[in-house]
């Protein structure tokens, strides 16, 4: 069983949604993801400078650690998605990660479309949860 962890952050960088499989050592994941925000911030600000209209939302592999690979994605409204996988997990290539992010973005858009959802609140949508779980089962 590979570890996989998914986090979403508000534009102010506090977590909106956290899910990791399996649950143990969650704290370490949190720290890893939190530190990866440094790179996300840097990349986002670098993009802002270049004024590229066709912005690539997928940020790619943020940085390699000994144990995990951390991938990042940032929406136009600066909501950040981060996926962490085990370094030993070779089944997930760049393309798979990219499509996972796209799927997540779509379901996040659905969450945002809910008029009862208040932007900035933690996400508690069942539908979103279901999609994330499904994704993790597939890849895990």
């Amino acid at each position: 069983m590979f570890h996989i962890c998914l986090l979403m952050f508000s534009p102010q960088n506090y977590p909106l949604y956290i899910r990791s499989v399996p649950c143990q050592n969650e704290l370490k994941f949190h720290y890893t993801v939190h530190t990866s925000l440094d790179v996300v911030e840097e990349k986002v600000s670098a993009v802002g400078k270049s004024l590229a209209d066709q912005r690539e939302l997928y940020l790619g592999l943020l940085y390699p650690t000994e144990d995990y690979k951390v991938y990042g994605y940032v929406t136009n409204s600066k909501v950040k998605f981060v996926i962490v996988v085990d370094s030993s997990n070779t089944s997930l290539r760049d393309n798979e990660i990219r499509s996972m992010f796209r799927k997540l973005h779509n379901s996040f858009t659905d969450v945002m479309c809910n008029s009862f959802y208040n932007p900035g609140d933690p996400i508690q949508s069942k539908a979103f949860n279901g999609i994330v779980c499904g994704m993790m089962v597939q890849t895990g």
Partner: protein
């Protein structure tokens, strides 16, 4: 240092340089030798050749060379690389031995010295027996040598010396001891460097030649050894490209070795060494990506090679060291100009090194059980005190088979290593690595990574029982996590911090962390919160809290005694905690009901409190400090006796305060400076007292964001019904200040006036004040005048007075302040006129401020309120009339110049531009220079009323006296008009408007001629005309006069005459004209010429004379018949 086992040997880390030994130099007693030695070794700059020099005595014993092996057939190597090998080639076996010898070519004892030199060379050769080390001789000479080829003796003796010493000509050098020592030395050392290069080249060839004797089965170790040696020798030769090639080959050979538990350490050690060299060379070649790739490969290959399971910590230690040394190499390269990036910087390697050190610590804790005694004799002791080969076990050196020779010995050895590991200060190592990493991440803009590492450092300090440092670090980073709103991480840090605070028995810290862990930001489970709250209550009751779980027993015991001591101490049982820096378990929000209160209303202040903890909290007192201390007494709630105030979990409570503002505070702000919530347990006097203090109107580190979120929330509307019963905490907003404003005035102020104001006029604004108060309004005061804050110049051009009877002067102020108007009884009306004099035109805003005081009662308290009412009015000022002035001649022709002593006319014209009718009371002329021709100047405009657009004119006859010809232009004086509004009171003052008359240009005429003639003529009636000719000069003037004939007149008199006029006298000429035609007729023209004064021509003189005259028709006789006939 216990970690030194894993340190890389210094001979590996240094930059290898060719080793050259200098002999025959006496650097202690011989000044010349000393100078030579200094020139070699002092201040070596980077551009000098890389040689390490050493002075050795002439009879120095070099390491013995073992007899060369001719066959490797039966040879089984005992290890990969000997520990002494690198040092031997760096510092012991020279590439070149240089013999210094003092000998001049013309030395008298040449023969003896030559043979002594040969002996010395021989001694050196003997001690180097078997080595390929070169020998060179340097002759230190006192004389400067002649150019080569000129000194026959020298060349002859040189070749003799060479042959006696068995040296080649290239190995004999001459060092003249003269001025240019350093230059000679540099040339010498370049030559030495070449010799050294040759030496290392042959050495590499020699090692390479061994290869053919080796076989793959028994000599695997030798393959690695030889590659390593060739690489190292290449480095000595400064051939880094080849060195890198050999090291790479050695690296792959190392991994081809058969690895088993007994030689795993040796393989890893050598792999680490070679990897270090490769990375170092890659950085040196400025190919950092190669270095990183090599290092990654190295780690991937070695990660799983743990080796002996009982000594697993050794693997972690080794891994840690690999990362650390790579980090150091990387950092060093950066210092030399390499640029690193955020995702690839030395920090990551230090961090990983720290990570492996943490693993090492954990494994050491698992594997190294206490209670065993160190074996004797020491299995780690070797006879030589060190190891023969790198990475071998001391108790079985040179052993290369798979199974250990002696299982018992093996066990003891492992035990000894485990016991040694127990003494390693792991935390110290980890913290050092982490702080290295922190420094790097700081540099590469990774604040979160830095915080994370600081948390790790804090935790490590906690494990190392240095709680003060741990708390300091954790406290520092907590803020970051708080602002990032990352609650799970914050909770984890707080938990560690709470442990530290407990173990240190630091009451204040303990209380603070408890409060935050109970707060809404904490992600702890309910039962944990409940336990923490109970502990908190215990501390507040001055009791010892329960031990935190996960603390080891020995520390808990120590902590307990610390707590007991703390509790026994008296006087320290009051604590103040600033809440806005934390996210505490009690939230406080204060707000004034309204952003402003009238002074006659009570000020309403609400304080909301909410507890987030699982159990009810009781408190004894709540006070609010306001910016004005005097109100504080009204804002206190205290529990009386047993009935303590209690906050139920999750239920907000509201406390209302109301107080009456002081009248002095009108116009000021009242702010909540702090809310103090006193949390005192009912343990009586023995209890501890904690003051929770909120700066401002409450709120804490998280509340701003929550309020923002709540304001966006759509649930506000959905939950309307619920909110009515129970406040929605998140939507409560703070209102930390309120403005005290004056009581609403109940008087009526009316203004009446007739705009616009006229310049300089006493413009009257009448003010009516009527009281609508129920009681007497006392001390009514009026402030009237120009409203402050308008254009700067207006203050000087506006004057306000209450006295309308006379025109005020410039001393009158622009704003009349505090004019007392007495008291006003209810319903009383008061009128007042205020006069404004505006000197300049333009709009002005006038302010009428009526202030009074009144007694009133608020909530049973009598206060004197000051009320005021402001009225403003904008008044435009316009010019009342325009005055135009012109000078004309007596013939009403416009004058450009005025002739001296000849009458002329001044005409004034007053054009009214006032919308109101003006009464011109009078006008007058105040003349300068010129005088009036008429004896009394009388105003022609007395009591004239001018409507808008009408104009009034006057005419004055003036003359410029003769004695004023000093200047060309002269001032003529002023024209003064006194006037007032026609509709104003008869007793209102007249305004004098002064107009300065224009200057006139004077001219003097030499001759003045004027005519006396009747005002009209009659047809066929004699018309006598007398011409006066005045000479205004001091000379006799000759005048020629001729009269032109005219159709309209017949005349008698001199038709042409030449006469003389004496100075200042006049001549008269009488003509009798006889008009022939009626109507305006041109008089016969006089042609006058002055032969002596050609400038005054006839037309110039003629302007004084009348041109025409009206001739009436012949009068009828009073004949009624003829009229009747007509």
């Amino acid at each position: 240092m216990a970690g030194s086992q894993w340190e890389l040997p210094p001979e590996l880390c240094c930059r290898p340089m060719a080793f050259v030994a200098l002999t025959g130099l006496d650097v202690v007693y011989n000044a010349v030798h000393r100078a030579i030695w200094d020139a070699f070794c002092a201040n070596r700059r980077a551009d000098r050749v890389p040689i390490s020099f050493k002075v050795l005595p002439g009879d120095h014993e070099y390491p013995k060379c073992r007899t060369k092996r001719t066959s490797y057939e039966w040879y089984i190597p005992k290890g990969i690389v000997k520990t002494g090998w690198m040092n031997k080639h760096l510092n012991l076996v020279p590439a070149l031995v240089v013999l210094f010898y003092e000998l001049d070519w013309d030395d008298p004892q040449w023969k003896e010295k030559q043979s002594e030199c040969a002996t010395k060379v021989e001694i050196v050769r003997t001690s180097l027996q078997g080595r390929n080390t070169k020998v060179a001789v340097v002759l230190i000479q006192k004389k400067t040598p002649l150019p080569p080829g000129e000194d026959l003796v020298a060349s002859e003796r040189a070749s003799a010396l060479c042959s006696s010493c068995d040296l080649s000509g290239k190995s004999l050098f001459v060092l003249p001891h003269t001025d240019h020592l350093v230059g000679y030395i540099i040339r010498l050392e370049n030559a030495f460097y070449e010799h050294a290069q040759t030496y290392y080249y042959t050495e590499i060839r020699r090692v390479k030649s061994h290869k053919e004797f080796l076989n793959k089965t028994t000599h695997q170790l030798l393959f690695v050894r030889h590659q390593f040696k060739m690489a190292f020798l290449s480095e000595l030769k400064q051939d880094t490209q080849n060195a890198l090639k050999y090291y790479r080959a050695a690296y792959s050979l190392v991994h081809e070795l058969r690895a088993h538990e007994t030689n795993m350490l040796e393989i890893k050690t050598m792999a680490g060494f070679i990897n270090y060299k490769i990375c170092r060379l890659c950085f040196q070649h400025n190919t950092p990506l190669d270095a990183i790739a090599q290092f990654r490969k190295h780690i991937d290959l070695c990660k799983k090679k743990i080796g002996c399971a009982e000594l697993a910590f050794e693997h972690s230690a080794w891994m840690s060291k690999q990362f650390q040394s790579f980090g150091e190499l990387f950092d060093e390269a950066i210092k030399l100009g390499l640029t690193a990036i955020q995702t690839q910087n030395p920090g990551f390697y230090y961090q990983q090194a720290a990570c492996y050190s943490q693993d090492r610590k954990q494994m050491a804790q698992q594997l190294c059980q206490a209670g065993t005694t160190y074996p004797s004799p020491d299995p780690l002791d070797t006879q030589s005190g060190g190891l023969d080969f790198y990475g071998q076990r001391p108790w079985r050196q040179g052993h290369q088979s798979i199974d250990p020779t002696d299982p018992e010995k093996e066990k003891l050895g492992i035990l000894a290593l485990q016991i040694k590991e127990r003494d390693v200060p792991h935390s110290e190592l980890i913290i050092a690595l982490l702080s290295n990493a922190v420094a790097q991440f700081k540099k590469y803009k990774c604040p979160r990574m830095k915080s994370h590492l600081m948390v790790q450092m804090g935790e490590e300090y906690y494990h190392a029982k240095d709680y003060t440092k741990a708390l300091k670090l954790l406290d520092y980073v907590m803020c970051d996590y708080r602002t990032e709103r990352w609650w799970p991480l914050l909770t984890a840090i707080l938990t560690t911090a709470l442990h530290c605070a407990y173990l240190m028995a630091s009451v204040k810290d303990y209380v603070i962390y408890c409060m935050e862990l109970l707060g809404r930001a904490s992600t702890l489970k309910e039962e944990q919160k409940s336990r923490i709250e109970k502990n908190l209550f215990k501390v507040l009751m001055n009791d010892i809290p329960e031990a935190e779980s996960e603390c080891d027993q020995s520390s808990v015991g120590a902590a307990r005694s610390l707590w007991t001591d703390r509790m026994a101490l008296s006087g320290s049982n009051e604590l103040t905690v600033e809440m806005q820096d934390y996210i505490p378990f009690i939230q406080c929000k204060a707000r004034f009901q309204s952003p402003s209160f009238h002074v006659d209303q009570p000020i309403q202040l609400q304080v909301f409190l909410r507890a987030d903890c699982p159990h009810p909290v009781s408190f004894s007192k709540l006070t609010v400090s306001l910016s004005n201390q005097e109100y504080n007494q009204w804002c206190v709630v205290e529990s009386s006796g047993q009935d303590s105030m209690t906050l139920l979990p999750g239920k907000p409570r509201c406390y209302n305060f109301s107080f009456v503002a002081k009248t002095e505070d009108v116009g000021k702000k009242v702010e909540v400076s702090r809310c103090l919530y006193v949390c005192m347990m009912l343990g009586g006097d023995s209890g501890r007292c904690v003051f929770l203090s909120w700066r401002g109107a409450g709120g804490d580190a998280a509340s701003t964001q929550e309020a923002l979120q709540a304001s966006r929330s759509s649930r506000r509307w959905g939950r309307g019904n619920e909110a009515r019963q129970e406040l929605d905490w998140d939507t409560l907003t703070l209102q930390h200040s309120t403005m005290i404003i004056s009581r609403v005035p109940r008087i009526c102020v009316r203004l009446s006036h007739q705009p616009p104001a006229l310049t300089n006029e006493m413009f009257c604004i009448s003010l009516t004040v009527q009281s609508q108060e129920d009681v007497v309004a006392k001390d009514v005061k009026l402030t009237a005048g120009l409203k402050p804050g308008q254009e700067a110049g207006l203050g000087q051009t506006t004057h306000v007075t209450l006295d309308g009877s006379s025109v005020c002067d410039d001393n009158a102020p622009a704003l009349l302040t505090d004019v007392p108007l007495g008291d006003l009884t209810p319903g009383e009306k008061l009128e007042k006129c205020v006069y404004m004099k505006c000197v300049s035109t333009g709009p002005r805003i006038f302010l009428f401020h009526v202030a009074y005081s009144i007694d009133t009662a608020v909530e049973g308290r009598h206060i004197v309120c000051n009320c005021h009412k402001d009225e403003t009015v904008t008044v435009e000022t316009v010019v009342p009339f325009e005055v135009s002035v012109k000078f004309v001649s007596t013939k009403f022709e416009p004058l450009e110049q005025v002739a001296v002593d000849i009458p002329f006319l001044l005409m004034t014209d007053i054009l009214s531009s006032s919308p109101w009718p003006l009464l011109l009371s009078s006008s007058s002329l105040q003349l300068l220079t010129v005088t009036s021709s008429t004896p009394q100047l009388q105003s022609q405009l007395q009591q004239v009323v001018l409507q808008t657009g009408e104009s009034a004119s006057e005419c004055f006859c003036l003359r410029c006296p003769a004695d004023t010809s000093s200047s060309n232009t002269v001032a003529t004086g002023q024209y003064v008009v006194s006037w007032r509004r026609y509709c104003s009171n008869a007793d209102s003052p007249l305004i004098q408007t002064t107009v300065t008359l224009p200057h006139v240009i004077l001219e003097s005429v030499p001759l003045y001629i004027y005519a006396d003639l009747p005002s009209f003529g009659r047809v066929r009636d004699s018309l006598p005309v007398r011409y006066h000719i005045e000479n205004r000069t001091a000379q006799v003037q000759e005048v020629e006069i001729a009269v032109d004939p005219s159709d309209a007149f017949m005349f008698s008199g001199l038709k042409q005459v030449r006469l003389r006029v004496l100075p200042s006298t006049e001549q008269q000429m009488l003509y009798n004209y006889y008009p022939l035609m009626a109507g305006y007729q041109t008089l016969p023209q006089l042609n006058i010429s002055l032969p002596r004064c050609p400038t005054s021509s006839s037309p110039a003189l003629r302007r004084f004379l009348p041109q025409r005259i009206f001739v009436k028709p012949q009068g009828r006789q009073p004949d009624d018949a003829s009229i009747a006939a007509a």
